[in-house]
């Protein structure tokens, strides 16, 4: 009748792993995935969720089992067994977490690579923000210009377009208390909403005017700080049409919670209609010197 402890342990571990896997596969905790790297992210999430569930259940299970099984009987004043260590066991529970975290580390490196996180930031022809072109919008970026007009401005961090070609759409993003402003250098559009065509790589060149903000679209699973004086880059490919929130995710003052905008992902035709309709149109912000031709790079 008694099952050997080793087999029992093995069996229980298998059950735990299966439960973890099942939970990872079937419990959905994330909003819809609307960018090319969102499914990649979700894959990582599932793996972490599975591992985490198994671990948590295993440890809590062990704990509750010991508490019930080894509860002190009333009146018993004796001690437990004086076991002070067990080398094989200790090696085992050092090695297993080590292997697990190394696996997680390597795996998430792979995921990061696939998201474009490891692509060198200054190698390819990153579109350089035109700091000096537009006086009213770019006033806050003066110091960037002073750091070295001439060659491309240094990009300090972010995610670049995967693949060798530059992005199809470039947008300059300026964050300020408490709004995002999107400038399309090719067409000269200035907008408070981000419009992007579905299925094409978009590169956001971001810089802040006053304090640090962050650009976050939960459905894209992407976030990047927008920092004064240190341009950053964020690229993505939207895959599902729709309107998604853009959320400022770095405390930037009293109205931080209200600093939101929308990204509109539309099919290429609607997008180009939007571009043509808005291009030469009177801009919301009157900028007398706004150049209408594509800016020099």
């Amino acid at each position: 009748m008694p099952i050997p402890a080793a087999i029992l342990t093995l069996g229980l571990s298998v059950v735990l792993v299966l439960v973890g896997l099942w939970v990872g596969q079937n419990v959905n905790m994330l909003p819809i995935d609307a960018s090319a790297n969102a499914p990649v992210y979700d894959e990582l999430f599932q793996v972490l969720f599975s591992i985490g569930t198994s671990l948590l259940l295993g440890i809590v299970g062990l704990l509750i089992y010991s508490l019930v099984r080894y509860r002190r009987v009333a009146g018993d004043t004796g001690d437990g067994l004086p076991i002070e260590g067990n080398l094989p066991l200790e090696i085992f529970w050092t090695a297993v977490p080590a292997i697990v975290v190394l696996f997680i580390g390597i795996y998430s490196y792979d995921i990061y690579e696939r998201m474009g996180g490891m692509a060198p930031l200054n190698d390819h022809s990153v579109h350089v923000m035109q700091a000096s072109a537009d006086s009213s919008i770019a006033a806050g970026m003066a110091m960037e210009a002073s750091q070295g007009s001439g060659g491309p401005a240094r990009i300090w961090g972010g995610i670049s377009p995967t693949g060798s070609g530059a992005a199809a759409v470039n947008v300059d993003v300026t964050a300020m208390q408490f709004a995002f402003i999107f400038r399309y250098p090719e067409s000269g559009i200035i907008s408070g909403e981000l419009h992007v065509p579905v299925g094409q790589t978009v590169a956001l060149n971001m810089e802040a005017k006053d304090v640090i903000h962050a650009f976050w679209v939960p459905q894209f699973r992407l976030k990047q700080d927008v920092i004064p004086g240190q341009p950053t880059l964020l690229s993505f490919t939207a895959t599902k049409e729709g309107r998604y929130p853009i959320i400022c995710a770095e405390l930037c003052g009293p109205y931080h919670g209200g600093m939101r905008s929308t990204v509109v992902v539309e099919d290429p035709e609607t997008y180009s209609t939007w571009v043509t309709k808005n291009s030469p149109a009177p801009l919301p912000v009157s900028v007398s010197s706004a150049p209408s031709a594509p800016l020099q790079s």
Binding site: Y70, L102, Y112, A214
Partner: protein, 550 residues
């Protein structure tokens, strides 16, 4: 239980006549480590209730998606104050100052800390610093830039509040450094002759590790805050991009302290749990040596992982990768500790009293928070959830579910030592159940909020999140209610609790081998030599009993 405690026979030494006696001494510049420890403890609890009331205001504001309970500026002040009070005036002083001061001299077999006067100075820096911090509400405005005080925001919010915040954190940092020096000297230098380092109770190792972190990292924060105050007062441009400075350098320097700070908040708690579990499971602490090594490993690794708070801050890719790996590795030594605790319980004779319940609650909550921590350490994962409620949930699972649970457990465990009376078990269990449910109800749903798009530090949010936020607020209310049985218990039992005797748990660590509460000189007669602090279940070792020291 086989240990015999022969009543000490030596004549008590004359007590310090210059120190006030009775309850008055708790309001004096006492140099008695036990008095100082209790001063830290009570002072910490006062600030905990202040920080908790601020948390209550946060949760009330978040009951509705609109910013309707208080002005937005006030919300930012409240959350900054909440974070600062909870970390610098509650957790750090209590796990280090209170329990460290009370227990360490007992554990090393000394009559006091190495530098008793410095010790008192370290404590007495805290109340003025706390009052200073809180006073900023009433003289203009408090700091609004979060407990992280990132520039340039902290340079543009009202200067008075920010400068007061800096001043107060500097004082608290100073207090912490003085305390750290004292602990290092006490543990390394003041050990009773014959007591070896590897015979010390685990809490000593935890505090040694913590103090090393304090000494190495707190000064960097101090220096950084001085530079920040120059930026505010003297208009230098260290961290001000508009003046050619670099805002991200501040983040590196800040987290060089504040990541180790999280281990400053949790290592002592690990130590306390290591003391509580063996006593109530009546088994030796499992894997003593590996516990020691894992503390040291956490100290070393803890110093080189800070940039995991800055994965979206425009750091270069190689840096992110390095910090991902280093951070994930911390799970290994931490895991060793958890498995050792489970093995300590395994096969024991477990008394499931309040102290034990809180300790087990700690294990559950901390493993939860640790696992989300390892997830956060993965750059691609963190890019989505950074600065969202997922992070808020992660760290409350650790600081509240971990450290605060341990503080409660320790208060129950050492209550008979402090007062000579037992705390009431029924009230204690009620406290535990309410806290455990309230805590999980408050913070578990916040993971979902973060994943689905709710950023942190906002007074207004997307209405789709209303219900979950209300759940969380109800949990917070439960936590607030749960403090009632606790407070009643503490006050009631101090006067009417069952008399405890000197060693109600029949514990083997040295603080129990004296009267409860202990005399001023800790032991009447020479300090006992305890070389097997966890010798449960063993034949009595001759040296465990009170032995002569000279």
């Amino acid at each position: 239980m086989t240990l015999t405690l022969s009543p000490p026979t030596a004549t008590p030494e004359p007590q310090a006549p210059l120190q006030p006696q009775g309850w008055l001494r708790y309001f004096s510049f006492s140099v008695d480590h036990k008095v100082i420890g209790l001063q830290y403890l009570v002072c910490g609890f006062i600030f905990y209730f202040i920080g908790g009331a601020l948390a209550g205001m946060i949760r009330t504001e978040l009951w509705t998606p609109l910013s309707d309970f208080m002005p937005r500026e006030t919300y930012n002040e409240v959350l900054t104050m909440h974070g600062t009070v909870m970390i610098f005036l509650w957790i750090v002083p209590v796990v280090n100052g209170a329990f460290g001061n009370y227990l360490i001299p007992f554990y090393v077999g000394a009559r006091d800390m190495a530098f008793p006067r410095l010790n008192a100075v370290a404590f007495w820096l805290i109340p003025p610093a706390g009052l200073l911090l809180i006073s900023s509400y009433f003289i203009g405005s408090a700091s609004q830039s979060g407990w992280t005080a990132y520039p340039p925001l902290s340079l543009t919010t009202p200067a008075t509040g920010q400068v007061i915040w800096i001043l107060s954190v500097l004082l608290l940092g100073g207090s912490s450094i003085f305390g750290g020096i004292n602990f290092i000297a006490t543990i390394l230098k003041l050990r009773r002759p014959g007591l070896k380092l590897l015979q010390l109770p685990m809490f000593c190792w935890a505090l040694l590790g913590t103090s090393i972190l304090v000494v190495l990292s707190t000064p960097v924060l101090a220096g950084t805050l001085v530079l920040l105050s120059f930026d505010i007062i003297a208009h230098t441009g260290f961290f001000n991009p508009a003046l050619g400075g670099n805002a991200v350098v501040y983040q590196h320097l800040f987290w060089f302290y504040s990541h180790p700070a999280v281990y400053i908040m949790v290592l002592p708690a690990f130590g306390l749990v290591s003391e509580i579990l063996p006593v109530h499971a009546r088994k030796p602490l499992f894997g003593y040596i590996t516990m020691v090594y894992s503390i040291l490993a956490i100290v070393v690794l803890g110093l080189v992982v800070w940039a995991h708070h800055m994965f979206t801050s425009g750091t270069p890719p190689w840096m992110r990768l390095f910090f991902t790996i280093a951070t994930s590795l911390i799970a290994v030594p931490t895991g060793i500790k958890f498995f050792n605790w489970l093995a300590t319980l395994w096969g024991g004779k477990i008394a499931l009293n309040t102290a034990m319940l809180f300790s087990c609650g700690f294990i559950v909550n901390f493993v939860f928070g640790g696992i989300t921590g390892v997830a956060l350490a993965q750059v691609p994962f963190d890019i989505h959830v950074h600065d969202t409620y997922f992070v808020v949930a992660h760290f409350h699972y650790i600081v509240y579910g971990g450290t605060v649970f341990v503080i409660f457990g320790s208060v129950y465990h050492w209550y008979p030592k402090f007062t000579g009376r037992m705390a009431n078990e029924t009230l204690g269990r009620l406290h535990f159940v309410l806290t455990f449910i309230g805590f999980n109800l408050c913070f578990a749903p916040q993971h979902w909020l973060g994943l689905n798009g709710m950023p942190r530090r906002v007074a207004e949010y997307d209405p789709q999140f209303t219900f979950i936020n209300q759940l969380s607020s109800v949990g917070a209310l439960l936590m607030a209610i749960s403090t009632l049985p606790f407070l009643i218990n503490m006050v009631y039992s101090a006067f009417a609790g069952e008399k405890a005797g000197d060693n109600p748990w029949r514990a083997l660590t040295p603080e129990w081998l004296t009267s409860s509460p202990p005399p001023v000189e800790n032991w009447k007669g020479p300090a006992p030599l305890v070389t097997h602090p966890y010798g449960y279940g063993e034949a009595p070792k001759p040296q465990t009993a009170v032995a002569s020291s000279t």
